[in-house]
């Protein structure tokens, strides 16, 4: 029997396990490279050129350039890695996170100040049908 993945029925959530890690290897190493100021500069001055150098696929390149973080996740990206891009964009983690929820940043911030997203109805995918 294969490994148990009890977390696949959590709605709106992708656990960074070995499948994700392998899929996103080069993508995450790209995000990691943004910890160096000179790499951030080179990336920001020509995103596509920098990404192509790092030998990651076209889908991934497009997802990064679009800052489509749900797509980034589906391609193996992990938030602790792509958080470096939030910072490179001089964006807060709050705004970065909000971009994955379909909410406007102000609306998301209001939700957080009012106590955050409720866990009720958000534990199992089947609750969301």
């Amino acid at each position: 029997m294969a490994l148990d993945k009890p977390y696949t029925d959590i709605p709106g959530t992708t656990i960074f396990d070995s499948s994700q890690a392998r899929k996103g290897y080069k993508l995450n190493q790209f995000f990691y490279s943004l910890m160096k100021a000179e790499n951030r500069e080179r990336f920001l001055s020509d995103e596509r050129a920098y990404l192509e150098e790092r030998n990651i696929g076209e889908e991934q390149i497009q997802a990064v350039m679009d800052r489509d973080y749900n797509r980034v996740i589906s391609l193996g990206g992990n938030v602790y890695f792509f958080g470096k891009l939030f910072f490179t964009d001089e964006q807060s983690f709050e705004v970065g996170a909000s971009s994955m929820t379909g909410m406007a940043p102000g609306e998301y911030r209001e939700m957080m100040i009012s106590g955050g997203r409720s866990v009720e109805g958000n534990r199992y995918t089947e609750e969301q049908d």
């Binding site: 995450n28 990691y32 910890m35 938030v79 958080g83 996170a97 379909g102 997203r117």
Partner: protein, 280 residues
């Protein structure tokens, strides 16, 4: 002889560090949070520990995908502050305690914990934000710090019980260290939060309240909670809470709770904070 005098638990959100670094702590959004650490700052100034064993997780900063240790102990002389993408935080470098760090490492490896020993690494907000919360903005941190990095980035992290047992082994190691040292152990990360996907922003106050209560008064049973419960009920990144069990395992079975604080939100995260004294 060295002794573990107290445990501290606290969340470690990057935005908290930025609020201090940019002088925003008096703003409406932030003031209630920092108020929750006033007691702790005064307490620790009096306690004046020699060493803090600081349990935290590296957020893809010192460890990229090339090397991912489950437990990594910093045995070096000092640890620089990492640039996580917006320049390094303007805080002092972290001075280690190699004698004690090596002693702990050697001891717990001999108790069948399969540590990775680290001599050179930079530390990220996971380690520096708790220092800021407890010590504010000194020119130098007032104590030595032994970084203990736990993998919670790549699934599976160590189990809560494994963490608790590691804490107990650390306790035994500290107890056998010859130098006369007051040692604190801090567990950081959490509480409920999710940073990713459509469910980002999840907070679970009931889960957090229960966790705060039980880690003080029923820690071993709490440590048995499986990963899936954290991820489902406290958000994907709520799994960071396993690190608190290392702190708790290193304390006595019965502790005196000096301070408890809870606040929502800091950025995307529920902030929980405990100060626990190791009563005799």
């Amino acid at each position: 002889m060295a002794r573990i005098t107290a445990g501290v638990a606290t969340s470690h959100v990057p935005a908290i560090g930025a609020a201090v670094d940019l002088g925003k702590t008096k703003e409406d959004y932030w003031a209630p949070l920092f108020k929750g650490y006033e007691f702790s700052k005064q307490w620790i100034a009096k306690e004046n520990p020699d060493v803090v064993i600081l349990v935290y997780n590296d957020h893809a900063t010192a460890f990229d995908m090339k090397v991912i240790p489950t437990f990594a102990v910093g045995c070096g002389e000092s640890f620089g502050i990492a640039d996580e993408g917006w320049g390094a935080r303007p805080v002092p470098e972290v001075i280690g305690h190699p004698d004690l760090a090596w002693h702990i490492s050697q001891s717990v490896i001999q108790e069948d914990f399969d540590l990775t020993i680290i001599n050179e690494m930079e530390v990220d907000h996971g380690l520096s934000v708790p220092l800021t919360l407890m010590f504010d903005q000194p020119d130098a941190w007032p104590c030595r710090v032994i970084p203990l990095a736990v993998n919670v980035v790549l699934y599976p992290p160590p189990s809560g019980m494994r963490c608790y047992r590691l804490g107990q082994a650390i306790r035994r190691a500290v107890d056998t260290f010859d130098e006369d040292l007051d040692v604190q152990i801090w567990g950081t990360g959490g509480m409920s939060h999710q940073l990713q996907g459509p469910r980002a922003g999840l907070i679970n106050k009931d889960f957090d309240a229960d966790f705060l209560e039980r880690i003080v008064n029923d820690p071993e049973a709490l440590a048995a909670m499986p990963h899936i419960e954290y991820m489902r009920n406290a958000g994907a990144e709520g799994i960071e809470l396993v690190m608190w069990h290392i702190m708790r395992g290193a304390l006595n079975e019965k502790v005196k709770e000096l301070h408890r604080f809870y606040h929502v939100p800091a950025s995307n995260t529920a902030v929980g904070h405990l100060v626990l004294e190791n009563t005799e």
